[in-house]
Symmetry: C2
Subunit: 320 residues, 2 copies
């Protein structure tokens, strides 16, 4: 199983992004531990630059570009955390960023990207329109496309999350991350199992977008169609590069429904006092699930709190 | 100026509560620093046990009781963080706690106190009823009254916040805390200026409950009447013990209106990803105010984020 990213690439990425990315803290919370039945170590990527792990991958990809290529800028299509991450990474390198965004994306996300100095290009809200708009920008400007997950430099950047976590916490038995396109999960897998092949890697996925679980069970990649979940960072399918890594390294994908995810999110806000977004809460809901609690030999588990960006004026909490 | 609490008492309190209280982390946030025009060090008492600094004082007071006195239990009247703090401190020592609560207190607060194993006694929602209900419990059970702030052991416990902060951050020029009854502010004053007499201490207060500011300006204690603010932890008047300490040590009280404190709270949630309650946001709003920004010689300022308990189903955020 030869993969396009190895531990050495992740170590290089860590050195490369160190001057720009935060070494995020690891927090613990007794109230969560009690409910999970084991010790949890929360890797706080909600405290990363732009409020999500996505900055690691975008930063590594931007810094890897040769000077003459970088000078022509970067482009992506995204309305999520990758857009902000790429915008900031480009600004830090002093190069242009072009972000293709579907019409109707939340104003707060558009504003954040503009605040980082990027140019926003509107497109119709479908995949074909996004791709053709990005291709047009590439043609026009010579900018390099930096996709949100299916790219070796992006995967290597996300993997630095696990490199840090393993340096911060001794004797972890397992790590769990949310999975959408699989950039974080595949990078974390390579890093964690590269350092300790006995370390167990798990993924957490919304029941309404469960392509990773179905793929792992089928042994072949199944694409996500018609996702239905409030975890808006986890709607996409696994990628050409991320799928084989996940297939080879991930022990199990735990799915949780939106109700469980909202309850987990509220618990983290109330007890750990940390603002996390629905996509991050999926991993917490997974470790609190009966399915995960029944697994043996997992005394100490790292949980990647992947991000903390959401609209505070539209929260899913209601009185019990 | 002889005060009933000195640095030695605070150092003793720190040793006493160390096995039970969290040594809370100090966080920084570039987005806040930019807006404040200086470096801020956020002392995260929202991550303290029970979600507020109040656990320090309650724990110290409970642990200071002689065994035979402690065995008869403790009592207080409070619907806020002190109630939970005392309930947990009593449970940790294995003694009864009786909490007098006004009818109509939020169900979530009542439940939290019950969860810590305390007994809740209902009373009418006025000061006289609260005091007489607590006195009845004392008479009936022999329990010791532990008031929320005007008590040397409580003040000493709250002062451990500053002891920790000064050990965690070098070269602070100033510290700011919210002020309600003044337990936190007076304890922090004694600790901070006991360690470094040149350290400048500030208080932050809601404009709708500004008795501390008026007291400091008048040079005599003025009681709070008819407070009007959403910062529900800061409604009370300064105490007999806390007022002279504050008078002797606090340079200035900064008042902020509720709109500014909600904006500051939202900023901390959005950018620092920390859940803080309105009473804690008052200190953040104060350091962001024009009045505070104009002060000279304050490069590095510690800000006590006093607590993080609030009802997530009733948040004051609305779309801008």
């Amino acid at each position: 199983m030869s993969h396009p990213v190895d531990l050495a690439a992740i170590r290089s990425a860590a050195e490369r992004i160190a001057p720009y990315a935060h070494r995020t803290p690891v927090m613990t919370c007794e109230a969560l531990d009690r409910r999970a039945g084991r010790q949890l170590f929360l890797k706080c990527e909600n405290l990363q630059k732009v409020g999500a792990f996505k900055f690691r991958g975008a930063c590594n990809a931007v810094l890897r570009l040769a000077d003459d290529v970088a000078a022509r800028g970067v482009v992506t299509h995204s309305s999520g955390n990758h857009a902000q991450a790429l915008a900031l990474a480009a600004r830090l390198r002093g190069i242009p960023a072009h972000i293709v965004m579907p019409r109707g994306a939340p104003a707060v996300k558009r504003r954040a990207v503009l605040d980082y100095g990027a140019r926003v290009i509107d497109c119709e809200p479908n995949q074909a329109a996004r791709e053709s708009a990005a291709a047009a920008v590439q043609q026009e400007t010579g900018a390099t496309l930096i996709p949100p997950y299916d790219h070796p430099d992006v995967i290597a950047g996300q993997g630095t999350t696990a490199l840090e976590l393993l340096a911060q916490v001794d004797d972890l038995d397992g790590i769990i991350t949310p999975v959408g396109g699989g950039g974080l999960l595949s990078g974390v897998s390579i890093a964690a199992r590269g350092i300790d092949p006995s370390l167990r890697v798990f993924a957490a996925e919304p029941a309404g977008a469960d392509d990773a679980r179905r793929s792992l069970e089928a042994g072949e990649r199944i694409l996500q169609t018609a996702p239905d979940t409030i975890a808006d960072g986890l709607l996409t399918s696994l990628g050409d590069l991320t799928w084989p890594i996940i297939r080879d390294h991930v022990e199990r994908v735990i799915t949780v429904d939106d109700e469980a995810l909202v309850a987990a999110m509220r618990l983290v806000w109330e007890r750990a006092k940390l603002v996390i977004e629905p996509s991050a809460a999926v991993a917490v809901a997974a470790v609190l699930s009966a399915e995960f609690r029944e697994l043996q030999g997992l005394e100490r588990v790292g949980v990647v709190l992947s991000g903390g960006n959401l609209d505070l004026a539209r929260l899913p909490f209601a009185d019990p």
